[in-house]
């Protein structure tokens, strides 16, 4: 566990890089620090291995104040990956990987075992061990940079914008690799970036910093759902907020309220009349309390017209429904997978309160793709002041 307790860093000349930061990271968490340049994110991270020392406050690792530790020993227990990779050009890949084990004076065969095992983990061939860094591509070099930080079984890995200098495709591959490694090995990763996509993709929890202070510290889902303030919203960006909406939207927000329903006692002709009046081809059947019992559609009524008299006799009592508050993304899947035209929404007492149809989903898609454009139009127009997604609710 890593704890920041009232940590501040003031540089000479009074510039406050980090101001009274309090954070607690659990073991095995993937923490991402994000912020604009000068927000103190890198400073905060570098204080963990004492590359920068706090002016005041305490940083504890597993309850122990790091200022009481020998910095060299401390750093050997913490993996360190930097944007510029920093492989030693005069050393072979092997010597680069086992740099820390060598400093720790591990026996030679243990060093080799560690290097070979890790190299295989990042999908690089064994003969790379005898090569030199300059013979590798940037992406390959950073793979080595990553496993170098893991070679001595460090429990904590610090990464300072490690993929910032790589092309998008390589960056993507490395992000996946790092996330996989982290999940597999259960180590604590502290990752600094200014790329929100990267943060959302990797983080278990995100620390958003501004002017040396923590603005928000939460899971990606919560940050997207409830940005702490305007700065966070701007930082996440309009695009991502809109994109993120379907994921966190609940069925309540998009369902059609007060769907057409009949009680089981109604006669078939009555049901047909309701269908004709409301121009629908199926009806939900509810009891007097409004609890969902089943449904009937026009074909079924037609086929059974001569044999039955009331809706209750012929209704299909097996209905797939979702409860209110269900995330829309789960509902979407159900609709698409089972080929439903619609899904009823019930409250916690089983009462029918709404209906999610394919049409409502199309609206969501429409909003996601064109919502932003409309918004721009709205902004451009002097008279139009309502923002579309607000007016919808």
């Amino acid at each position: 566990m890593i704890e920041f307790k009232n940590v501040s860093k003031v540089y000479k000349g009074g510039k406050k890089a980090v101001n009274n930061v309090n954070l607690t990271f659990n073991d095995g968490e993937f923490i991402v620090f994000i912020g604009t340049s000068g927000s103190g994110k890198t400073t905060s991270m570098r204080m963990i291995n004492r590359m920068i020392e706090p002016t005041s406050g305490q940083i504890l690792i597993n309850g122990e104040d790091i200022m009481k530790r020998d910095p060299v020993q401390l750093r050997r227990e913490i993996g360190y990956v930097i944007q510029q990779i920093g492989l030693m050009p005069h050393m072979t890949i092997y010597d680069n990987i086992v740099m820390v084990p060598k400093l720790l004076k591990w026996p030679e065969d243990k060093q080799r075992e560690s290097a070979e095992r890790l190299l295989a983990k990042v999908d690089l061939p064994k003969d790379f061990l005898t090569r030199y860094p300059a013979e590798l591509s940037g992406g390959q070099q950073q793979r080595i940079g990553v496993i170098r930080a893991l070679a001595a079984n460090q429990d904590i890995i610090l990464m300072d914008e490690p993929f910032g200098a790589l092309d998008p495709i390589t960056r993507d591959a490395l992000q996946e690799l790092v996330k996989e490694l982290q999940e597999e090995m259960g180590k604590t990763f502290i990752f600094v970036t200014h790329d929100m996509d990267e943060a959302l993709k990797l983080a278990d929890r995100i620390v958003i910093m501004q002017n040396g202070e923590v603005v928000q510290f939460d899971t990606p889902d919560n940050i997207l759902a409830e940005p702490a303030n305007q700065f966070v919203e701007d930082f996440i960006g309009e695009d991502r907020l809109i994109q993120a909406r379907p994921n966190i939207q609940t069925v309540d927000q998009v369902m059609i309220k007060n769907p057409i329903s009949v009680t089981p006692g109604k006669s078939l002709s009555e049901a047909i009349r309701i269908m004709r009046d409301k121009r629908v081809d199926s009806l939900f059947v509810t009891d007097d309390a409004g609890v969902l019992k089943g449904y009937v559609d026009i074909e079924r009524i037609d086929r059974n017209r001569k044999r039955a008299t009331s809706v209750g006799d012929i209704m299909i009592d097996k209905v797939y429904f979702v409860r209110e508050g269900t995330l829309l993304r789960d509902t979407v899947q159900r609709i698409l997978k089972r080929g439903f035209k619609n899904i009823p929404v019930v409250d916690n007492k089983g009462r029918l309160i709404g209906l999610v149809t394919r049409t409502s989903l199309v609206d969501v898609v429409y909003d996601t793709i064109w919502g932003e454009e409309e918004e721009e139009l709205a902004k451009a127009s002097v008279f139009e002041t309502t923002i579309p997604e607000e007016s919808k609710e």
Binding site: M51, V72, G86, M88, P89, H90, L103, A134, L158
Partner: protein
Amino acid sequence: MADFFATNGSDLLLKTWEHLYISAFALALGVIVAVPLGVLLTRFEKSAKFIIGLATILQTVPSLALLALMIPLFGVGKVPAIVALFIYSLLPILRNTYIGMNGVDVNLRDAGKGMGMTNFQMIRNVELPQAAPVIMAGIRLSGVYVISWAALASYIGAGGLGDFIFNGLNLFIPSLIIGGTIPVTLLALLADFGLGKLEKKVTPRTVQENE
């Protein structure tokens, strides 16, 4: 030509040896002092300017004068000559060591420190190997200078190939002057070649490829 070798042959060998001995001794001392000093200066940035300035001033003292100044301190012979040449060899080595060490990629230092290297391990495993080509270039330059200036050392009785040149000058025998000058030049060229080879050798493989 044959005549010259017949009369001075054995003397020539002896003087060449003396010359080489004085130069090598002075250069070795220079390396032993200037390289660690240069490394140290990178850790004490404040005194670096002062020390390098001092070495520069020493370098500007005319060579004959410096040799003469050694006499009251060390008398005549090889010792004052070696000391004077040693002083001359300092600056190029010192300055190149300092520049080479400071020129090491800051990211390599950051990575090394961040992974838990001590100051000494950093110097030995990261900075010196990286700075080696620049340091060697300084040593090479000093080597060539020291060999040619060692000819002047005969003036204070240190011997060496300078003896031929001064004798030739005093006795108006051009063949002696030439007979002394050519071996000095050859020695300097050979030293330059040899140290150049060494420079290549200490340059990390990949740094060479990048050049």
